[in-house]
Symmetry: C2
Subunit: 740 residues, 2 copies
């Protein structure tokens, strides 16, 4: 299995790689910031669900916790830093196979002495609370004096916003550092403990000042003999479900003693075993002329795993996972539309938990609807722990007025309601989980339907949905956004279906629902077969977008035009209609796919990272595999590409999900049709084989696709009918189908 | 006049020089952090009086305000930084004469192109709200692309504690950046505005994100032609007394327009004129074989000026002035005992304002006394804006137990009450300001006396003061600390004197006061003529302190012994008794001075920066001029010496006052005897002349002292009797006295 490599030290990429090489386990994520400090390096460690409002007028942040990996290393009186002295060799690798991050350096200090330093770290997959690090230092030329200062540093902030009260710091039994912190507003307790163990004993002294609890370790390095420092840390919070009557403070001390005694190598061994099992069950493999494709897929799957808080249904996945502070760690529609699919097809229990997150926040969604004058459930555009609306009030400066621009999404980006309902339906179709569907599923479908019914208004004899923002956020406050209207329609339709299925007797809702379905305006394709994005979109002027497309992802257009001006042109951040074609393929014939993909692609900058992989899927389904593969490759570059700053504030979680989706729903062309798993594979010419595991309706399959044939193997579970290229097969052992 | 120089760039000294080269004007102070960022560089800008509690369980911080001087400078795609590329020349100077900080650099980037950069900045002395900066960049070898990003950066914190809500940011009229911030707890508004003006127009774009409001300026530098960027900033707050009906927001915008139009050079010219006047009136000059002596005196006087908020009597001087965050900007006895003397003898109105600060906080001092079971006024050991006790609960980690040690000063370091009373008396003796003394002065003296009377307790027929901490904080919870008892006695004695003088008829207080004076135990010198520091001190074991004295100022002893252990030995942070001999010289004959100085010096580590200069004064008065000069020189090194980290968190404000005091009260030996100015000069052999201005009882004098004679010139005011070497002279014009 390939590793993610960084082969040279380049300051411009420092925050990109810090995001890319995040280690984590769904409970916490730790950015791959270097142990030593650099100007502009943003450290970050986050625990899923630990949010806080720094002040009353700000939305919640995913709290950047006190740092436990920073180290000042002095070698013969000189601070170790890769921008001084000379780098004789440098190699950093995130080992996707076992979750370990490792950095190997040979460094010559200003005085000409050479040192070998190896840094290792991991977030344990077997015990979610454990962060283990190991440093090995060897003085290659002569004996040297070394001093290492490291500990628990609570000076960390979220870009200047401090969320934690330092409640207590102490050193127990001479070596165990412990800090107890409390979030200022949400009132959560975080207990951190860390302990350093050295291969040789020099002096150690502890200090506590200015929110830093530090150990200073001195040691005289002999020539050419490695010195090893293991620092094991643990994280417990008041949200932990596994505390067993202990306080986080007590739990952290007891756990640290045990893990510190085990030592780094044993912890790595145990964690790696869990990773091995993970890959066995979930890896999607491709034989491609381009090695990068496999790396991109492995990377996506790794990140989808470490971003998902599967241990607790009270949390969901932030827009940057646990890799950075972009979007403040908030949860968007990204989870339902881009992240749940991977889990749904590999471990549906995780998908259920993520949907339970929405169910648990239903009360707040009902409240948001009511306070906006609607019925039913209006889920917040951005949510965090409480389920209240968390969208910030302001975005960037308006380049014309100099004022900050209001963010309208909380008021008008209502499609999230239907996106959640859509995924509830997909969850059921995949799992046939009646227990969930009868209770949480049905309630979610009914309340979201109620919202849409109240949201629509009468105009010229039909129902319209006015003043919304679709997924294309460059077009605000429009009427009858096609994506929104179709998805609302689907939402209500499915609610009625499941009400019937489970004998729900809410006659009033049924009647209103049927009326809604009958009368809701659904924008139809025009004479050119283009579905209008909204009532006015196609009549707006067009401009040449080529130079903005070259810098896609940067929102550079907003440096030349105000949002208002962009709103009045046919300029898309991402293509609503293409997304609609992907989500509801049964509603649109193939020629509609091609025509609309071409039209909207021309007007789309792809400033949203959610955009490209969806175009890949729709292009594949429309039969244009070359174009699809090109979109796929480009989507793989959103985080892994050469742009040094694209991922500074964290990875694009949805985009990572979308890369997996592009392979699965584009090239393998997996879908659910007539409640049956459907495959209609079309591999790019660069790929000779695509294999992947898949769970559908409780049956575990292994699927291998080449240009010539598809081999479907039942790994476990009941026999299953699947449809492949229009033919239905019963899979009870192995099915081989000729694709020629 | 000498400048304070930094001749080479050395990262180890980065925070020391940031403190040393602070520009300021008593309204605000700006650390001399470099425009470009370095790991470990602590930026800081502070406005006097703007304090805030980050969270309820912490004391107030002097708020580190958003940064306005930081700049990212890209030259041909490479960030300007002195740790990359090559420094061809480097010179930084704080021009004490005109208050300007200037840095001249020739730098070669990694690609081998040379650039000359000159950075200038000042805190205007003529308009306290103005911070002006100027950058001149010349590409020396060839045309180059330049990009500068600068603005208002509200990510600044006090070591991780964020005090400000970002209320509003905007760009007005395309170039004026404005940020409005509010402190989270104290509710003060801070309005910052800044505007960049360039000598040539390239592109400019603005962004607002993550608490940073930034302008990005692009320009193509021609070869060998300077590009000039002036950035003028203004600071207004809701505490400003000069707002005239405007909000800070309005004031900042209007003021910035006007100052920005004036330009850097004009602002420098006007500010420099104020500085010239300042030096004319306040400079102490010495002809020494060592140039450093004059620099140290000029530096002290400069810093005493820029640290003092003379514009507003609601604030006083923090222990680090406005140069850093040490001691959180809190006000200690340092102000009365170490900083007021300079003002009292050069501009007594400032001394009055600083005493008014205490008077305005009398209510809180009465409250603190009452809540501790005492009468009268118990001033807090540390205070900030409100006058409430602000001493932190905890200090460093106890090296034996691993727990943080409680700070006992708020509970027991009561001598500050008498220190304030003492300075009230000195103020009157110097100014004969009956208006102040009848009202504020008398009230302060009476309430502080009431405290001492209630604080003393009866034991074996006399009054004792138990469980206190004297100025020597290494000795806690002792009984009858000599310094405290004598100062309390002086406090009550003076209260009674002024009650009589002004006919105050509080008979009960008078009776109790007389009883207190009669019965208070005042420790007398023992057979060896040593005044015991407290009841038990002289009986405690002694250890060899020489290695701790070598590292004085570092509190290294606390790394080897716990505070409890230090408390049980004859180990002094600073010498109580020597301080007492300095403050109340009339009570002790000269042989007591010598004996006690010798004894306590041996047991004093000088871990307090308040210590050494007082030893210099007492040594001078005891007749040991060589030793005195040695102490003086050592005291000048506390901030200006080679220790790279002694001043990282700010300058030692009291120590700077003490350097001036050592020259004035030691070598010139100025004192007030029988309500008359008394001089008994004794210059070190290295000094040939000492001259200084001085104001006493309204008369402005100029005094010149050599080894041979003293020349006293009346500059303005009434004729004045002064005493010199035991003889009384009337100064009506010039008096020349032979000292031979």
């Amino acid at each position: 299995m390939k590793k993610l490599d960084e082969n040279r030290f380049d300051l411009r990429y420092i925050n990109k790689f810090a995001s890319l090489m995040t280690v984590g386990n769904g409970y916490f994520g730790l950015r791959a910031s270097h142990e030593e400090n650099y100007v502009g390096q943003t450290r970050g460690m986050y625990v899923a669900g630990i949010y806080n409002k720094a002040t009353a007028n700000e939305p919640s942040d995913l709290v950047n916790l006190p740092d436990m990996v920073g180290m000042n290393i002095e070698l013969d009186g000189e601070y170790f830093s890769l921008i001084t002295g000379e780098i004789l060799s440098y190699q950093r690798q995130l080992n996707l196979e076992n979750g370990e991050l490792r950095r190997d350096i040979v460094w010559k200090n200003g005085a000409g002495s050479r040192f070998r330093l190896t840094f290792q770290r991991l977030a344990a997959k077997n015990d979610l609370h454990v962060l283990a690090t190991k440093l090995t230092v060897t003085s290659l030329d002569k004996p040297a004096q070394m001093k290492i200062v490291t500990g628990i540093d609570a000076q960390q902030t979220n870009y200047g916003r401090q969320h934690l009260i330092e409640e207590k710091v102490r050193v127990a039994e001479g070596d165990l550092l412990q800090g107890i912190y409390k979030t200022t507003e949400s009132g959560q307790t975080i207990a951190l403990a860390a302990c350093c163990t050295c291969s040789a004993n020099g002096g150690i002294a502890h200090t506590a000042k200015n929110r830093q609890l530090l150990s200073a370790i001195k040691h005289d390095l002999p020539a050419d003999a490695p010195f090893v420092l293991e620092k094991i840390g643990v994280i417990y919070t008041s949200l932990d479900g596994d505390l067993r009557e202990q306080s986080p403070e007590e739990a952290s001390e007891a756990a640290l003693r045990s893990f510190s005694a085990a030592g780094y190598d044993a912890l790595l061994h145990e964690s790696a075993a869990e990773w091995a099992q993970f890959w066995k069950e979930k890896r999607i493999k491709v034989s491609s002329t381009r090695d990068f494709d496999q790396l991109a897929l492995d990377f996506s799957v790794y990140q989808l795993e470490v971003m998902t808080p599967a241990h607790d249904e009270r949390f969901s996945v932030g827009a940057k996972g646990l890799t950075g502070e972009g979007y403040k760690g908030h949860v968007f529609w990204d989870t339902e539309i881009f992240i749940i699919p991977f889990h749904l097809f590999t471990e549906p229990e995780k998908a259920r938990k993520l949907l339970r997150y929405r169910y648990l926040k239903l009360k707040q969604a009902l409240g948001k609807a009511a306070s906006n004058g609607y019925e039913g459930a209006l889920f917040p555009w951005e949510s965090a722990f409480t389920g209240e609306e968390e969208t910030p009030e302001f975005a960037a400066i308006n380049i014309k007025t100099g004022k900050r621009q209001k963010v309208a999404s909380a008021l008008a980006e209502h499609h999230i309601v239907a996106d959640i309902a859509y995924t509830v339906v997909k969850y059921y179709q995949n799992t046939l989980d009646d227990t969930f569907m009868k209770k949480e599923g049905l309630e979610l479908l009914k309340e979201t339907s109620r919202f849409w019914i109240s949201r629509a208004e009468e105009e010229q004899g039909q129902l319209v949905i006015k003043d919304v923002i679709g997924p294309d956020e460059y077009t605000e406050h429009v009427d009858n956004n096609a994506f929104t209207n179709y998805m609302a329609w689907y939402n209500v339709k499915q609610a009625l279906f499941f009400m019937d299925k489970y004998g729900d007797d809410d006659g009033q809702l049924k009647n209103r629902g049927h009326e809604f379905l009958k009368r809701l305006y659904l924008p139809k394709a025009n004479d050119d077969k283009i579905i209008p994005q909204d009532d006015t979109f196609l009549s707006k002027p067009e401009i040449d977008l080529s130079r903005y497309k070259l810098a896609q992802g940067s929102q550079g257009i907003l440096m030349d035009y105000s949002r208002q001006e962009v709103n009045e042109m046919q300029i898309l951040k991402q293509a609503d209609v293409v997304m609609l074609l992907y989500l509801l393929p049964d509603l649109f014939p193939r020629d509609i796919l091609s025509k609309n993909l071409d039209y909207y692609e021309e007007h789309t900058i792809h400033d949203s990272s959610l955009s490209k992989a969806i175009h890949a899927i729709v292009a594949a389904r429309a039969g244009d595999i070359d174009k699809s593969y090109q979109f796929f490759q480009e989507s793989c570059l959103i985080d892994l590409g050469p742009n040094p700053h694209s991922s500074d504030e964290g990875l694009h979680a949805a985009s990572l999900g979308a890369i997996w989706m592009a392979a699965m729903f584009g090239f393998a062309n997996v879908s659910i049709k007539n409640q049956r798993l459907n495959l209609d594979p079309r591999l790019p010419s660069e790929w000779s084989e695509l294999t992947f595991p898949l769970i559908f309706q409780g049956t575990r399959l292994h699927i291998a696709i080449t240009h010539e044939q598809a081999v479907i193997t039942k790994v476990a579970g009941d026999d299953l009918y699947i449809e492949l290229k229009g033919n239905v097969f019963l899979v009870s052992n192995i099915v081989e189908v000729d694709l020629g």
